[in-house]
Amino acid sequence: MAIRTYIEAIREGMRDEMRRDPRVIVLGEDVGVKGGVFKATDGLHAEFGEMRVIDTPLAESAIVGVAIGAAINGLRPIAEIQFQDFILPAVDQIISEAAKIRYRSNNGFSVPMVVRAPFGGGVHGALYHSQSLEAMFCHIPGLKVVVPSTPQDAKGLLRAAIRDPDPVLFFEHKRCYRLIRGEVPDGEYTVPLGCAEVRREGRDIAVFTYGLMTHFCMEAAESLARDGFACEVVDLRSLRPLDRAAIVASARKCGKVLCVQEANLAVSVMSEVAAIVAEDCFEYLDAPVRRLGGPEVPGVPFSPPLEEAYMLNTTKIEAALRELAAY
């Protein structure tokens, strides 16, 4: 096993799949010679050339729409959206088109395409380079939505996404890119979509989370462990479909539930997780479900005191856990 950063794992995932399968292409803004604004595609242009690593015009609907057409005609495109915030001009292509093409053609056509985009705050990116907009896509049948939290998952899930027969939105937490390093297995492994991962076992409180927050939850759980409270930290990884069985199992086992996400809470992934718990764990609960998420404001502000006030961190999560432990 090699040690890789999160972004190296993503880069290698793309590279390995491109070596393996000539149908895989990459397209997006600045993905060519520059190698992407975060360098996720660095080196791909040099290795695979202009035909397979395509600098597109500055037009997100085109990036996704062209990827859809290319997927229909036999390729396996990986479309990069420079920031998740800028996926919004492509929403019609994603929701009206990609998500519905298999269904509306009665299985005649399909869209094996990956849309990659960095999301999340904590990098002084302000309102439009910090958002966590995954919830809106998690509502839509026909899409799959994935958020890795570790290098191992980043590579394995990305490879699975590229091989998946349907459109997968692959959201990468930009703060993880260089912050998170870890072991990455050698060889051609994949990590299956649709499965949550228990990152830490416990029987007192079930913590459901994903992305960067996974790391904060692990730290908070660590801290509680010192006082004898055992938190089970579940990294959802796949936000659509959600791993309902895993959610129910951990919630039932622990009887107390904390849902943690960076995005604001209203009508979000953690609304759904809480709803699942409310539906399927009624007789097992020892406390009200608790949710912790971004505040009800339209984005992460730029100024450091505001950004800090906005973002969750280990301390805030720990406080919520202790409150729940005391219930």
Binding site: I54, A59, V66, A70, D92, S96
Partner: protein, 334 residues
Amino acid sequence: MAVMRPETSPGSDLDAELLLTMYRHMVRARVLDERMWVLNRQGRAPFVISCQGHEAAQVGMAMALRPGYDWIAPYYRDLALTLVLGMTPRDHLLALLARAADPNSGGRQMPAHYGYRPLNIITGGSPVATQVLHAAGAALASRVRGEDAVAYTSLGEGSTSEGDFHEGLNFAAVHQLPLICVVENNGFAISVPWSKQGHTKDVADRALGYGMPGVIVDGLDPVASYHAMTEAVARARRGEGPTLIEAKVARLTPHSSDDDDRPYKTREAVAEEKAQDCVLRFRRVLEQRGVLSPGDAEEVRAQCMREVDRAQEEAENSPLPSPESLHLHVYGDQ
């Protein structure tokens, strides 16, 4: 790059066989289209949208393509186009009546949402102009594989106001993709006239902003349409990039069976368009040239009627989808 207006006198240089084939295709589409309205008026089909007035353009264009090899991203008026490419009246009546055997969507989509894998006719949804990008993507994929297939897409003139039209044509121009985009300009987007969609006289002027050839063609003339398309296809196959073709056509019906065009279209304008009906016009041309002899036109029509009768019967006897099939085909790995 300037906008081109190629001159062709109808039927000039094509042999009689080809002209006759064109005519048959036009009549077949017209007969089928009329039948769909009858079924609608009888309460057996809740929705019809029509190709009447667009047949000449579509037949001419379709005959310049290679069915099953080229990629097609059409729009809801392209009934005649899909018939020329190889879909059948039966296919379309199965869709109209929302039967399980509908090859477009298994009865899931509204009629006129074409999609047929064996002919590379890419499934279309309702949002207008999105297909332009799919066609560009399909063209890109053919190019990546080194094939000389072209991608065809079409839309109405009103739909060229959408951002996706711009992004698609621009992408195709930058990458010099083998894309042919046909705008079927019937003057209206539901009730909104071209003067409220664009400030240029011709839709083809939009091509100038993308540095690609814009071609204006008399879409009531199948031969002119065929020639324009043949040339655009040849250019595309040679790797010389995309073309925008504007076909000036007529919408001989209201927008759809849900529309009433009286508030926004004068009766005189309607009558004038009817007088220019492309099917009648082409019939007269062929009769003058002796390609159609007396009685031929009636015979063509009768043949088409018989085919459509049979198709209707088959479609009506075909089962509706089962309620349980609602859940199928959301994902490929289910």
